[in-house]
Amino acid sequence: MITLNSPATPPATLHPDPISCPGCGLACDDLSWNDGHVDSRGCPIAADYFKPSHAAPMPHLFEGKPIDLNSALDFAASLIKVARMPIFIGGGCDIAGVQSLLALADSIGGVVDSRSRILPINMQVMQENGWIATTFSEVYNRADLVILIGGNPLPNWPRLLSRLVANHDSMFRTRPPQVLQLGTAIPPEQLPQGLDYQAITVEPSEILNTLSALTAHLKGGAWREASPVHPELLQLAERIKSAHYPVVIWDAANLCPTATESILAIDYLGEVIRLLTPSQRIVGLPLSSSDNAGGMASVMTWQTGFPNRLFYTPEGPESHRYRDQGLERVADGDADLLVWVSAITPYPMPEFKGQIIAIVGDDYPESELTRATVTLRVGRIGIDHGGEVGRSDSVVMIPVPAAFPTASTTERPRVDLVFNQILARLERSQGAIL
């Protein structure tokens, strides 16, 4: 029998203060207890994540029938053992979960990827051309102009403006920065009160052309003559030049109609920043990932050199940008086992013909799980147990204490322990020396 208490987990205090939220890549760590519930500071995603639940733990399942944890782990291990081509899709768990997932995948081979659509877009631009970027506390203290590119980022990043931009107390600025949006205007009722906000409306289909024109204008000379820009864009360029620490923020999921156009658009943004940096400071802040896909990218990078789309082959880790996209491979049908880790936000499983092992939290809808051969109901970080997640600005790892720690050792186990146990079973069955 296994013991599921992690030796590294400190004794749970009932009400950690402050509480951290893994609901999006902002990883806000300023939430607190208020009158028996988590005060989500007006964030709808956090309110939903931390809504109290008094339901009994959901059972682990094999072919829809409740089983105990050890049997579920046995079944999961036997499926993985015979799989020809497994695909592991995360993040959906904490850093420790990713570390254990990679240890297992390295042992048996297969593809590992995150669900994030935006991480690969940003990563492609960064890996090909680099960028000049910043982190949240720098924005908080230095930004005197914020330029938002694309659609309204607030549905995906609810506290972006209220937490990082609209703060009054700062080291180097006397008031919150002006926010200029190049794209679709944010409805006024969603804006923090008193924020100096203006939008230059640009349709999603025109974002790429607009950024191309802005780049040409900044390059000057023949480029500028060939690509005259709208007066509003000229004003924007002048406004940027007069700022001390302008910050360009984009959400790759909310930029252009297609991923390819978004890649090109971010390329232009990087170019704009590089063109201006010889004479002034200007930085980018890519909103990079939720679901701890960013933390997953960090661990994948230090363990394999690849931030995403990883294929463990017998010759070593590989990554082909187009071949090894996890979700595409799931759709292609060349995999026979899907390991779906989704214990932060409950993402619906994709269509898949092979077997599925679902590693999900108690909030994951039962109806979805009828397609899974094995379901392991794991704890959710920040709710049942503590964990760590990567923040969207890629440098910071935030600890997420358990707001409602569960005491049980067999229900809602940690994701890392699930993967460690599966690996131990595989090693035992292969007769390896343990």
Partner: protein
């Protein structure tokens, strides 16, 4: 228990062994991870006859960028590196890849194969310390630690600006070391990273910092040198000076030595700070001047940051300088980041070319420093991995130091004008094996205060390397016959043992004593200005979740009031 016998011991920290003095062979007994005295009646003992081979303690790299956010960016930017030296999972070993930017497992396997059992990450950003420790925790086998980067963090600059007492600065530094579980303190470009955030492109040692107009880099250096000393850390302040790589920076480096006012000071990757601006190309060697200053200032220690020709990536906290260097990026891509009112980073792929005058002279300058600085206990062998070259070039570098003829032969192949601009050809010094042992294990262990490492004394951790005669010295140091880590054989002839579970590495840190009342001030600063909560910064013991990390906590040997 293991009994190694018929061996030639090289142990500069403890050269008193009768056997060594008399030049005869010797024995070493290993038990439970330590070197032990010869037992009265050995039982269950594996006996290994080494046939007179040379044995040294495990080597220690005091400055190697093995982890942290900038190295992750480096791995991501070095896409071609992912196809180099790739290998799949073998037995108990993890898969891996990378030449200039090896991944976690590969880093350990390469170091161990060369007889290195310990390496220190020299530039941990406080806000990235949790990630850095997580990454180091994934490096198997290798013992490690990290130095916390200070000197551009706004909290410290505010303390200096408001003329805080030295004791208060010490308390803050003590808190930072403890909170981030660091083994030392590093400054990268004092004040310069912060200045770059205010759009300043250079910062002289006596130039007031932007926004902090009563603070100069000189004050930052002095106050942190003092803080590190007064907190009782064995390892002096680890300083990456202002003006890295700038022709003529010799003046800054010499002035920086003075700025320490006699306090212990470690100048890191000194090669990059030993440049004159003479000659037609306005780039010259100032190694003689610098070596003279090091020789005559016993409070100063250095590591060289030798370059080697070939492709690598330069990754540094020095955004100011890395932005300048981005003009030479090869391939043409770079990342610069301002980080959390704490520091910054710049990552620029680069190729050092032997037929490029500047690169060729950089190579010669590094070797000049090695040969002109007299005391081997005050100089350490580094390439500032991967900035000057990957650490895997160490065996070649050692050969260059030990064989003047080989060195001259290599010199004759670099850019002709660089050959004329260096005194390297006239330097006959040949390092002895004993001196190499000082440079690579005895010296590092001593300066880091790691009394149980870097030596073969009884009671020391049984990190032991057995060298076998090879056709040349480079192979000799690249392929030790046996490497024991904590008494366990982990590598043989350059191959890591893969048929059994190998132990995890251990992370070393030092916990200084400081006045806890500083925490209130730091918390107030975090509450007002930081987008991360005070409780979540660094490695707060109350908030560590996930994979356990094997930490060894050290205590300073002294505390000066």
């Amino acid at each position: 228990m293991i009994h190694l016998h018929n061996l030639r011991r090289i142990d500069p920290q403890h050269p008193t062994s009768a056997a060594q003095v008399n030049g005869v062979t010797d024995d070493i007994w290993l038990d439970q991870g330590r070197i032990v005295a010869a037992p009265d009646s050995p039982q269950n003992c594996e006996s290994i006859d080494l046939g007179g081979k040379t044995v040294m303690a495990g080597a220690i790299d005091i400055h190697s960028h093995i982890a942290g956010g900038k190295m992750n960016l480096g791995k991501q930017l070095m896409t071609a590196d992912r196809h180099l030296q790739k290998f799949g999972k073998r037995g108990r070993l993890r898969s891996g890849n990378g030449f200039a930017t090896p991944v976690a497992s590969t880093t350990a396997y390469r170091y161990l194969a060369m007889g290195y059992t310990m390496a220190f990450e020299p530039a941990m950003v406080g806000v990235n310390s949790r990630g850095c420790h997580r990454e180091m925790g994934d490096i198997p086998l290798l013992d490690r630690g990290a130095y916390i980067m200070l000197g551009n963090d706004d909290f410290l600059l505010r303390l200096l600006q408001t003329k805080a007492e030295q004791g208060r600065i010490n308390d803050y530094v003590g808190w930072m070391i403890a909170r981030t579980r660091a083994m030392g303190v590093k400054i990268v470009n004092p004040g310069g990273i912060s200045a770059f955030k205010f759009n300043k492109r250079n910062l002289g040692l006596d130039t007031p910092c932007p926004h902090y107009d009563s603070v100069t880099p000189r004050q930052i250096v002095y106050s942190l040198c003092r803080a590190v000393y007064e907190l009782g850390l064995s390892f002096p302040l680890h300083l990456h000076c202002n003006d890295l790589g700038i022709p003529g920076n010799v003046a800054t480096t010499l002035a920086t030595i003075k700025a320490a006012e006699g306090y212990p000071l470690h100048l890191t990757h000194l090669q990059f700070h030993s440049y004159g601006a003479e000659g037609k190309r306005q780039f010259s060697s100032a190694a003689e001047q610098i070596a003279e200053a090091v020789n005559s200032n016993p409070n100063v220690t250095v590591d060289v940051g030798q370059i080697a020709f070939g492709h690598t990536v330069t990754a540094s906290g020095d955004t100011m300088i890395q932005y300048i260097n981005s003009a030479h990026a090869d391939p043409k891509r770079f990342v610069c980041m301002d980080i959390e009112c704490d520091g910054g980073c710049g990552v620029v792929p680069f190729r050092y070319r032997d037929q490029n005058f500047v690169n060729a002279l950089q190579w010669a300058i590094g070797l000049e420093l090695f040969l002109l600085i007299k005391d081997p206990w005050r100089i350490f062998l580094t390439t500032d991995h991967p900035n000057g070259a990957p650490f895997t070039v160490y065996p070649n570098l050692i050969r260059l130091l030990m064989e003047p003829d080989y060195r001259r032969q290599c010199l004759s192949q670099i850019h002709p004008a660089a050959q004329k601009a260096t005194v390297l050809g006239s330097l006959d010094r040949a390092y002895s094996l004993e001196e190499i042992a000082i440079l690579t294990r005895a010296g590092p262990a001593r300066i880091l205060g790691l009394e149980d490492h870097g030596s073969l004394k009884i009671g020391a951790v049984a990190d032991i390397v057995v060298y076998e005669e090879r056709p040349n010295l480079e192979d000799y140091f690249a392929l030790p016959q046996m490497v024991f880590r904590r008494g366990l054989l982990v590598a043989r002839n350059g191959e890591i043992i893969n048929d059994r579970i190998l132990p995890d590495g251990v992370t070393h840190w030092i916990e200084p004593d400081y006045d806890r009342s500083i925490e209130k001030e730091v918390k107030a600063f975090f509450d007002r200005y930081m987008a991360i909560d005070y409780m979540n910064y660094g490695l707060n013991g109350e908030r560590l979740y996930g994979k356990p990390i094997d930490f060894i906590r050290h205590s300073p040997k002294r505390r000066i009031a």
